[in-house]
Amino acid sequence: MNMVQAINSALKVEMERDPSVVVLGEDVGLNGGVFRATEGLQELLGEDRVMDTPLAESGIVGFSIGAALMGMRPVAEIQFMGFLWPAIDQLASHAGRLRNRTQGRFSVPMVVRFPYGGGVRALEHHAESYEATLAHIPGLKVVIPSTPYDAKGLLISSIRDPDPVIFMEPKKLYRAGKEEVPEGEYTEPIGKAKVLREGDDITLVGWGSLVPRLLKAARLIEDKGISAEVIDVRTISPYDEGTVHDSLEKTGRMLVAQEAHRNLGFASEIAARAQEKMMDVMEAPILRLTGFDVPFPFYRMENWAMPDIDRIIKGIREVLTW
């Protein structure tokens, strides 16, 4: 399965297992979602389980919160991350707060999922990466898979999670590759990073769309005699600093890559936590490779806006030669 198929499979498995799981969003029904993530689900499960909503993101998320409060497990799709903004009020003021402000009386078990990121020659407003903005909101979990297998396992976990989960899908990887994914149910843990490749000289950390590039960089520098450890963070909130710090303990050097804008990106949080706790093992400053502090550009310039393999290689050299 590719990643879209894996996401579709996760939704199907969970909806068949638990009648309280419903899918809602713009064009998710007959059309199967603009990326086809919900393809065939309405046909299988009916219009009151897979609901085409009016064109209103605040409505979609607010409605989902209400349904979750009354015992449903809504999985809301927002068409693109760039269109999430109207829903931020509902997420920050209610989804992330209700458990705390009612002192445990209510909770909001729902998932809000959407494609994010660039690299597919999309129109303006269709390629943003604002994961740090969401991770900044207390009470939300933020999950970002980078493989079909993880996408399915993490989405199932997100649907079963008792709290609101933001599930961000790197659209560049939707159809980038296939791997073996079980048809049935399985889970991958939320809040757990994954070491994809072991190494001793440097730790490369990323999530979502940049993970394949980090892996490729690690493979290429291996030919030059450098051994890199690659970590897919998978959940940026809650962030699994233990796995990253263990690796840093071993390598003493770290590069963190993100597609998002540079200022206050999640890479900054990773670097800050590492310097607070791991200063004594560090042999070089932590390098952040990021997008720039400009709106994600029109597609003619989009390749410039994302850390590419060349910049990753240069970054690795910079950390190693510090």
Partner: protein
């Protein structure tokens, strides 16, 4: 006067020509020169739009949102606007742009993924495309308010779709427009679809036009495929606004004859029968029949117009495709009036890495060495 004569709550629709081009209302008595312009621009818009779809199919342009079938609801209001009026568009108004002095090559460039398309030519009173649905509505209201405050006499014409009227911004924007009695004409092009969601599933409201009534704004449902009706309704709305009588709202009842964008496949959610039915209500077909009956349209004139359009479109495509490449500076320019130190640093970094590339994305070997 259509104001007050067509009740959207009853589903009344203002129409001048029926789908066969027959007068069904009083002859509006428009100048034949104006009528020729209305037809000419609809045809130019149609041909330019078709060319854009072709360019996308040939891989010369990215995703494009075709406007075919909506020419009347774009040309009528555009020609009813005065020189000092402002356009706040949605994203499907190629034809309106052309009329309002936003050159075709800009619109093509936009979908070719080039930000320079958004650098609205000096003197053109239009904002660039608004992608996040309905966000233009409160902005248009604020702009109209400011124009009034400055005593400019200008009116704002703001476009949106039918789906857009579900967004909060639509309602907030309209309410502000009403409260501050701004000189604005809001036009919702109800093309029956918001991607795959049919108008009936978008709202239980009988018409889109009646939504404006709750904000105290007069609204009319107009046959959006009837360019005469659209012209007259828009003219009245703009005049009212200019005379200080506050905002006006038009629901243009029309049809998106093509896919939502070139990335969409309408075969998944609507029937060929429905499409065929709307083909018969096409705005060009109907107006041409009317003009032919009046002796204004002739096959020779049509040929001439097509030849002119072809020439104009060809030039626009050439201009769009011959624009030189951009530089790293272009990514950072215009962020603020003055570039911040952080941006200067980021630009230097980008320039350095581009000038010293040691591996391309698909390559399997690094050029530089490692310690």
């Amino acid at each position: 006067m259509i104001f007050g004569s067509f009740d959207p709550l009853k589903g009344d629709m203002f129409q001048v020509l029926d789908p066969d081009g027959k007068l069904v209302a009083e002859d509006p008595g428009l100048d034949p020169v104006l009528m020729k312009d209305l037809y000419r621009w609809m045809l130019y818009g149609r041909l330019a739009d078709e060319k854009a779809v072709k360019l996308q199919r040939q891989g010369r342009m990215g995703t494009y949102a075709p406007g075919k079938g909506q020419e009347a609801s774009q040309v009528g209001p555009a020609l009813a606007m005065g020189d000092y009026d402002w356009l706040f568009p949605s994203f499907r108004e190629l034809t309106t742009y052309m009329i309002r002095g936003y050159p075709l090559e800009y619109n093509l460039l936009y979908f070719m993924g080039d930000v320079r398309s958004n650098q609205v030519p000096e003197g053109t009173k239009s904002l660039p495309i608004f992608v996040p649905v309905a966000t233009q509505v409160p902005i248009a209201a604020g702009a109209a308010w400011a124009l009034k405050k400055k005593g400019s006499g200008s009116v704002v014409v703001c476009y949106m779709g039918d789906g857009a009227t579900s967004e909060g911004d639509f309602h907030e924007g309209l309410n502000f427009a009403g409260v501050f009695r701004v000189p604005a004409l809001f036009i919702s092009q109800n093309n029956q679809w918001a991607i795959s969601v049919p108008r009936k599933k978008q709202t239980l409201s009988r018409t889109i036009a009646q939504k404006s009534l709750s904000y105290g704004i007069p609204g009319v449902l107009v046959d959006g495929n009837d360019v005469l009706a659209m012209y007259i309704a828009a003219r009245e709305g703009i005049e009212r606004a200019r005379n200080g009588e506050g905002p006006f709202f038009i629901e243009a009842f029309t049809y998106r004859r093509m896919m939502h964008t070139t990335a969409d496949d309408p075969g998944r959610y609507r029937t060929p029968e429905e499409e065929a039915e709307w083909d018969l209500k096409d705005p060009l077909r109907r107006f041409r029949a009317y003009l032919e009956g009046r002796g204004i349209w002739t096959p020779e004139w049509q040929k001439q117009l097509e030849a002119d359009a072809e020439e104009m479109i060809k030039k626009a495509v050439e201009k769009a495709e011959s624009l030189g490449p951009q530089e790293p500076e272009d990514l950072f320019r215009h962020m603020y009036e003055e570039m911040t130190p952080a941006l200067v640093e980021q630009l230097e970094y980008l320039k350095f890495s581009l000038a010293n590339r040691e591996i391309e994305e698909e390559a399997d070997e690094i050029k530089g060495g490692f310690p």
